[in-house]
């Protein structure tokens, strides 16, 4: 064995001994690393969550009436009421105490200036 080979053999023995004594990650270090990982994953989930778009006035109004379904129902009822009121008011006025169909027709005609 020449001088160079002796040096290499000696150093190899030292490297082997050093590798056998490599530091082992402590439980505390692993816990810190896993806590970091969890924090990064949580932050990423928050960032990637969809942000709701700002609501328009129409949306706010429809929400006030119970959403689109509620607002549609309300609009349909109003339309139906107006239609009944214009086409055959006697069916409505006959339910009002102290009125007759004729008197009501006159009053309705005077008020709305119609020729019923």
């Amino acid at each position: 064995m020449n001088e160079h080979e002796k040096h290499d053999a000696a150093l190899n023995a030292m490297f082997t001994a050093a590798k056998a004594e490599d530091p082992v990650p402590s439980g505390d270090l692993m816990a810190r690393i896993m806590a970091d990982a969890a924090a990064v994953q949580t932050q990423a989930a928050v960032v990637s969550a969809p942000i709701p778009a700002p609501k328009s006035i129409l949306h706010i109004l429809s929400d006030a009436f119970g959403g689109w379904a509620g607002a549609s129902t309300l609009a349909a009822c109003v339309g139906l009421g107006l239609m009944v009121g214009f086409t055959s008011p006697e069916t409505i006025l006959s339910f009002v105490p102290g009125t007759t169909a004729e008197a009501s027709e006159d009053a309705f005609g005077l008020y709305f200036d119609t020729d019923l």
Binding site: H7, A17, A20, V40, A44
Partner: protein, 196 residues
């Protein structure tokens, strides 16, 4: 979700994707696979267990943060971590420069004499301690190259990749590093049972 462990055959690249998708088991598998090697390199570079742990934690933290942008097949996770850990060690060494000098191997306390029954184990421990002290006498780049090549067992091209230098430059650093180690250990070769 099935749990992963360090023996899992799932590639690092796949684990990075799983991690980015929020899989905690992927984080555990990556940490168990790489922390000990990163810690060992940092310890060889810094010679201080607590500082080495801080570097290992920071290197892994940077891995977690880059996971969502990780490009599969472009770099090995291990090489990437070694590079990050090496840079973190270099930063620390530069901050410490002027505050402390590399250890002089002759100034390292001799281990206490123990009973013959533990002699073999003590020789191994003595050699490991002596090498660690000898490493601290090397210039930073030689220490890094020697640690990566002979203790982390990377190939010369892998060391070149981590250090961002040519393979020729790695070979030069290794040759000088080995000569430096031999010189540092010269005075203790008999005690350590070495012949050179």
């Amino acid at each position: 979700m099935m749990p992963f462990d360090s023996q899992s055959e799932i590639s690092d690249d796949a684990l990075m994707v799983l991690f980015a998708n929020g899989d905690a088991d992927a984080a555990s598998a990556l940490a168990h696979r790489h922390t000990s090697r990163v810690l060992a390199l940092a310890y060889r570079m810094l010679g201080d267990q607590a500082e080495a742990e801080d570097v290992a934690q920071e290197a892994l933290m940077r891995l977690w943060k880059i996971a969502s942008e990780w490009r599969q097949g472009e770099a090995k996770v291990s090489t990437w971590l070694y590079r990050v850990a090496s840079n973190l060690c270099t930063d620390r060494l530069r901050k410490h420069s002027g505050k402390r000098r590399p250890a002089d191997i002759d100034s390292v306390a001799e281990p206490a004499d123990e009973t013959p029954s533990v002699e073999k184990k003590m020789i191994g421990q003595d050699r490991a301690d002596a090498l660690q002290s000898a490493l601290q006498t090397l210039p930073e780049r030689q220490r890094q190259a020697v640690s990566l090549r002979f203790l982390q067992e990377l190939s010369n091209p892998e060391v070149a990749g981590v250090m961002d230098i040519s393979v020729d430059a790695v070979e030069s650093l290794l040759a000088r590093g080995k000569r430096g180690l031999a010189t540092a250990l010269e005075g203790r070769k008999t005690e350590l049972g070495l012949e050179f």
